[in-house]
């Protein structure tokens, strides 16, 4: 392992200053960073340990919404009673992610910074071409093993899938990331690969994620996260859907609908076309299934990942119909 400096930040401001140093990376739960360092992908010169910062692990939930400190553990948020009752999709996305051991270590802020599982990205010794790792070097995944790669939001430079669950639920409910005083929608925080897949997040050197804020809503309260995968636990999504719904007083007509997809796109993927097609409609299986097909509009497969285009709309439809059943 390369030598690197280790700094323990004593305040958020100190963390910001240290994080601005060239080659500096923030260390929270370490579940992604240490893994990537072992793969030879992350090679920090300085690790800035923020785990000792006070007050960044608070979870505040009210009528207006939830504010979750960046250092709150995934496991704690998943089990939080008010998160479960007011934001079931958030809790479900969290407890279906990773393993219990990882959820007990990993933080919410770090979770947003989770990187792709693309095997070519993760193996620099064998695959030198990766635009995400080395801009301009090419993409080893295109033409290779693509079963787990994205079908939405891809570019000629990168087809790496965003693997997280939590952020999928966050974009469905218009959550924002707090970077100190700067606020940005989670949807905007994640960047499309385009020609610069190395740039994944709208975060500048010296910025530190301090919290995530999720507005309260009726749709968030009646929400779910449906995750379909090869293995029943400890496995990334083949396709997933975060869905929230609010009915009119008749209990059948859809007033508000939120849909986001995981496991199929280069970033957490809000399916606004599905939402628009169903708002104002009476919930019925055929209508829902037809509208759910809009979730993969514009999808492009690379052979082995074609099944995701079939699968994702079915996952969306099932999630919406499941919420309808509880009406």
């Amino acid at each position: 392992m390369r030598d690197f400096s280790y700094l323990r930040a004593t305040s958020t401001d100190a963390a910001r200053q240290a994080a601005a140093l060239p080659g500096a990376m923030l260390l929270a739960g370490g579940t992604t960073l240490i893994d990537l360092a072992k793969c030879g992908v992350a090679e920090p010169d300085t690790l800035v340990d923020i785990t000792h910062l006070k007050g960044l692990d608070r979870i505040d939930v009210s009528e207006r919404g939830a504010t979750i400190g960046a250092l709150a553990k995934m496991g704690h948020v998943a089990d939080h009673a008010d998160i479960k009752s007011r934001f079931p999709a958030i809790s479900e996305a969290l407890w279906q992610a990773a393993s219990a051991q990882i959820r007990n270590m990993a933080t919410i802020g770090g979770n947003l910074m989770q990187r792709t599982r693309c095997p070519y990205f993760r193996d620099p010794a064998n695959f030198s071409a990766c635009n995400k790792r080395v801009p301009g070097s090419g993409c080893s995944a295109i033409g290779g093993v693509t079963r787990g790669h994205a079908v939405l939001g891809t570019s000629d430079a990168c087809i790496a899938m965003y693997p997280g669950d939590l952020a999928t639920a966050l974009v469905a409910f218009d959550a924002t990331v707090h970077l100190g005083d700067r606020r940005i929608l989670v949807d905007d925080f994640f960047l499309l690969p385009g020609t610069t897949p190395d740039r994944e997040h709208a975060i500048e050197p010296g910025e530190v994620i301090t919290a995530i804020e999720i507005p309260g809503s009726a749709a968030a309260r009646r929400s779910t996260y449906l995750k379909i995968r090869d293995r029943q636990s400890y496995e990334f999504a083949a396709a997933s859907a975060a869905v929230g719904i609010e009915f009119e007083a008749d209990g059948r007509t859809i007033r508000d609908l939120r849909v986001a997809l995981g496991g199929v796109a280069t970033k957490p993927w809000r399916a606004r076309a599905v939402e628009a097609a169903l708002k104002g409609k009476v919930l019925d299986p055929e209508t829902v299934r037809a509208a759910s097909l809009l979730a993969v509009e514009g999808a492009v497969d690379h052979g082995a990942n074609h099944y995701k285009i079939e699968l994702a709309p079915r996952v969306v439809a099932r999630a919406i119909l499941k919420l309808g059943e509880t009406a």
Binding site: M1, R2, G40, R117, P119, Y120, D123, A125, N126, F127, G143, G144, V145, R147, G148, I228, R229, D230, R231, Q232, S233, Y234, E235, A238, H306, Y307, E310, L311, R314, V315, A317, R318
Partner: protein, 764 residues
């Protein structure tokens, strides 16, 4: 390692301690508390760390290795390349075939697969070795590779005539049969994925080598090290107290071991080398990918007239691995006409190796899927068609079965599972979005037998000590040998200490092919009987013994005490008796070798597999048997398959410890669920490289994937299979699970998946 039998579980009382009792694993507490020390946890003064550098191409030659930067890196002690590593001598294979007289280099110049070891860095710390290994620059002259069986360049391969099994006129009978089915079945590369990765600590003292290494075969591996380094066999000591899973992958000394032991010799310091998880996918072989074609000709009532079977498995460019694909095909069903042939195809892969039930496992996937297909074609229940074609004797060897409780297994499993309530039509059972399917398949594994050796001592305090260089990789050797010695001598199992995993102990052959329990209980029983005879002999004949005046012909030993059979006369503890006759111990070596065996025979028996006894030797054909009944739920929208119920009935003969046997059966079934639904090495065809070489991407089942599994023992003691009546346990459970699941998936969905694993995109 020494394991004392200590436990507080009420179920582990006197009844549990007898052979056949449900004694909990005696090594359990040490493992749970972390006290159990595994081989590479050995702490030694001056230990240096080696890290391997692997090829990044699948075929070609190493043009040059630039070690300048690596050598200059902090802490680096040496950089080994084919040019700088000491020359070794080629060792014999596991049959003991004399090797060609040529040097052996564990670092490759000629590259035949991606991930081949080409260099190694040794440094003061592990971290320094890792950093420096990344600085070794290898350049190659690359040549086209053959990536796998489906590669256009792979060809038909090499016929393996020894695998041919034929009787009757199978092609003609097939052509004449009114019902004919023909299908091809494929299994991918699968990996043992033991929790404990491969690794070792090697230390030289003069020309004596000690290797701490997880091993399924201490004496076999010691022989290989001795031959590589041209030192006497006695100079090599293997130590392997606990093994964190082997599944066939830890039976042989491998090239990484040669690298570490060479580095230790060159440096004059002990060296530790542990493979990364990624390296375990290419550092040694997993299960070979296979392709089988099964054709069955039958009457309209489902009676089989002919089976024609053709199998192909992959092997490496310069190694030979034959996965016997006709092994189950040739014995499961009675057929008057049969033909099975097999080829192997060379591909740019590490040479494949043994993985739980090599041969029988993929073989069963072929024949047990095919007979299910036949059942639907003729419209007969899949269980009924198996009974109609039941083989009353070994159809290939034409010998009587030693015992075959397969009919009983079908009956017991079907009853418990509720098979009679099955709706025969595919897609006819559902629960909401879940299509439900019920499948059945049979499995079998031959009883592999060998000669064994053990030392049993009765010590001054009345306790009993058992010594053997055999091993416990989690299957329960420590426990059942304590039970065997306890029952034979007549002491509680609590008073037995079992020492295993050190090649200085009594010799032992390979712990593979489910043979260990049968071999070792026999050897321990023989040694313990001899020790008991000595004890009783002393008690009767020694003038100082309290029994001397009794003039008895015999005495009984029970619960650690000695008395007369009628209960009259003295009653003393073993310790008291030994004290009275002035002995501090009684020692007996028992071996089950023929009486006239030479020292050379013994060496050959324990360091090769050449003296294994054929399972069809003499008048009988010896196999373990099982029947799996499995329920799956397939989501009709998502194509996800979940196993929701398993009932398996198994015939492993007499069980020495039902709790441990059941645990092994269940472990096999769980591994079979992984094989059916999850496991597959995924190849980047451009690079000839497996890209899912880690446990996040190579999926094995989690607890959430496994339902309650019910196992039922239907075995009876089989005197022809082992000294104490047991047959094989460890491999049996996995055989037949994958076809039972594939058959259940067909019943659920109407889709026949003939390529493992059954992933969602094949059903969506």
């Amino acid at each position: 390692m020494t394991v004392h039998t200590r436990h507080g579980d009420a179920l582990d009382g006197a009844l549990a301690q007898a052979l056949g009792g449900r004694l909990s694993r005696v090594d359990g507490p040490a493992k749970i508390t972390g006290a159990a020390k595994y081989a590479v946890e050995q702490q030694l003064e001056g230990l240096a760390y080696a890290v391997l550098v692997e090829s990044t191409i699948a075929s070609g030659k190493v043009r040059a290795i630039d070690t300048v930067q690596a050598e200059a890196a902090p802490g680096v002690l040496q950089v080994l390349t084919p040019d700088t590593i000491i020359s070794l001598r080629t060792a014999s294979d596991w049959f003991g075939t004399p090797p060609p007289d040529k040097p052996y280099c564990p670092l490759a110049r000629d590259i035949t697969f991606s991930g081949q070891h080409v260099a190694a860095v040794v440094a003061e710390t592990f971290e320094q070795a890792v950093a420096a290994a990344a600085l070794v620059k290898v350049s190659y002259d690359e040549t086209p590779s053959i990536v796998d069986l489906s590669d256009g360049k792979a060809g038909d391969g090499i016929p393996i005539d020894a695998m041919t099994k034929e009787w009757g006129d199978a092609p003609a009978a097939f052509a004449a049969a009114p019902v004919r089915i023909c299908a091809a079945y494929n299994t991918p590369r699968e990996y043992q994925a033991p929790m404990e990765p491969h690794g070792l600590v090697a230390r030289w003292e003069g020309d004596h080598l000690t290797v701490w290494e997880p091993s399924q075969w201490l004496d076999g591996m010691a022989r290989t090290y001795a031959e590589w380094f041209e030192v006497p066999f006695e100079n090599v000591r293997l130590v392997s107290p606990y093994i964190g899973g082997g599944f066939g992958s830890k039976a042989l000394a491998l090239s990484h071991g040669a690298v570490a032991a060479s580095a230790a010799k060159m440096l004059g310091r002990p060296v530790k080398l542990v493979m990364t998880r990624q390296q375990t996918f290419t550092g040694y072989g997993g299960r070979a990918a296979t392709r089988q074609t099964v054709t069955i000709g039958a009457d309209r009532d489902g009676m089989i007239q002919s089976i024609v079977h053709r199998g192909v498995n992959e092997t490496s460019i310069d190694g030979m691995w034959v996965e016997p694909l006709g092994s189950v095909t040739s014995i499961m069903y009675a057929t008057p006409n049969f033909s099975s042939r097999q080829n192997v195809v060379r591909v740019n892969s590490v040479v494949p190796g043994a993985m739980r039930a090599p041969g029988e496992n993929p073989s069963a996937f072929g024949i047990e899927s095919a007979i299910d297909e036949l059942a639907y074609v003729v419209g007969i229940d899949p269980l009924e068609i198996r009974l109609r074609n039941y083989a009353e004797q070994d159809p290939h060897a034409k010998k009587a079965w030693s015992t075959r409780q397969l009919r009983e297994a079908f009956a017991a499993g079907a009853e418990r599972f509720g098979w009679a309530r099955r709706s025969p039509e595919p897609r006819s059972m559902r629960d909401g979005n879940q299509l439900i399917g019920w499948g059945v398949a049979a499995g079998t594994y031959p009883v592999r037998r060998a000669y064994g050796e053990a030392v049993v001592r009765i010590l001054a305090d009345g306790s009993v000590e058992v010594e053997s260089s055999s091993i416990d990789m989690g299957q329960g050797t420590y426990t059942i040998l304590a039970q065997t010695a306890a029952e034979t001598v007549g002491v509680p199992a609590d008073d037995v200490v079992v020492k295993l995993g050190d090649s200085r102990f009594a010799r032992a052959g390979v712990s593979g092919g489910s043979r260990l329990a049968g071999v070792m209980t026999g050897a321990v029983h023989k040694a313990a009987t001899s020790a008991l005879d000595q004890l009783v002999g002393l008690a009767i004949s020694d003038p100082r013994s309290p029994f001397h005046a009794l003039q008895a012909n015999t005495l009984v030993v029970a619960k650690g005490r000695i008395g007369s059979p009628r209960g009259d006369g003295p009653d003393v503890s073993i310790a008291e008796l030994l004290k009275s006759v002035g002995r501090d111990r009684i020692e007996a070596t028992g071996d089950t070798m023929p009486a006239n065996s030479t020292a050379e025979d013994r060496y050959k028996n324990y360091t090769t597999i050449a003296m294994a006894l054929p399972h069809t030797e003499g008048d009988y054909s010896r196999y373990s048997w099982c029947a799996h009944f499995i329920e799956v739920r397939v989501d009709e929208d998502f194509g996800t398959v979940r196993v929701s119920r398993v009932v398996s009935a198994l015939d492993s003969g007499r069980l020495y410890n039902p709790k441990l046997a059941e645990s092994q059966w269940k472990g096999g079934i769980i591994m079979g669920i992984g094989q059916a639904l999850l496991e597959e090495g995924i190849m980047d065809r451009r690079h000839g490289r497996i890209v899912n070489n880690n446990l996040a991407d190579y999926l094995v089942p989690t607890n959430a994937d496994i339902p309650d599994i019910e196992v039922i023992s239907v075995g009876i003691p089989d005197p022809h299979s082992s000294a104490l009546g047991g047959k094989g346990v460890g491999e049996l459970g996995i055989v037949g699970v994958a076809p039972a699941i594939a058959n259940a998936v067909f019943h659920a969905t109407g889709k026949r998946v003939r390529d493992l694993p059954i992933t969602l995109e094949k059903l969506i």
